[in-house]
Amino acid sequence: MLSAPEDIKRPLSPHLQIYKPQITSVLSILHRGTGIVLFGGSILWCFWFVSLTAGIDSYYQLQEFLLSPLGLLILLGWSFSFFYHLCNGIRHLLWDIGIGYEIATVRKTGWTVIFSSILLTGITWAMGFMKWKGLL
């Protein structure tokens, strides 16, 4: 690995605060942001698997936390992040095989990603609440 000499102050190129937000840039930033949220979520899933083996008390403690207002807020944030990262990830995979580079298409698939991730999050929560209330 190379390291730059410490005493040279190099100029920095203009960053986020300089540019006007556009659907392309905002969605790209969201992809990275939701990725970080999902990284945090992966720690939670590990906890959940461990709580299943750590005995009945730890299982219900974690369940009680996840079904509390704070826990539900975390799950809401995780689920939106999951569906957003999933939909936008499919968009990325399509770009990888050369599909959808025209700027009009990029905008169209961008809005599709936004609407589908909100819709999928809504459907998941509706099903979750129906299961919780014993309707499903």
């Binding site: 690995m1 190379l2 730059a4 990275r32 590990c46 461990v50 369940q63 990888d96 979750g128 919780w132």
Partner: protein
């Protein structure tokens, strides 16, 4: 237009000597996580309001355990590759960057093993 000599093209390793390995594994785990992630969301949704006994019973099926372990492997592999790119983008070359990347990889490795052992413990006992 070709930017590489014939030998470099045949070796296909590029300047980093590791070629597209990181890129490719990130895509493979991404594709795996489409069905596995959706499965996990449905599985978790069914179990989050379930009793301890019901949750344990769910992990007695070899299908469930296979899916859960596959999900864990793809998830933590994908997560550690993704976090590596973020560190590489924002932390300048040096010991800190190296430590953050190594730390993230080892952390993900540890959590993956812990998750898999926990899942298998329920399955096998």
């Amino acid at each position: 237009m070709k930017y590489e000599s014939s030998l470099k093209r045949a070796q296909g390793l590029g300047s980093s000597k590791s070629s597209v390995h990181h890129w490719l594994i990130q895509r493979i785990t991404a594709i795996a996580l489409i069905p596995l992630g959706l499965w996990f969301v449905g599985f978790f949704l069914l179990l989050i309001t379930s009793s301890y006994e019901e949750a344990h019973a769910a992990f007695l099926s070899p299908w469930t355990v296979t899916l859960a372990v596959s999900f864990v492997i793809a998830l933590f592999y994908h997560a550690s590759l993704g976090m590596q790119v973020i560190w590489e983008d924002y932390v300048p070359y040096g010991l800190t960057r190296w430590a953050l990347i190594m730390g993230t990889h080892l952390f993900c490795f540890f959590l993956a093993i812990l998750s898999i052992i926990s899942i298998l413990k329920i399955f096998l006992t």
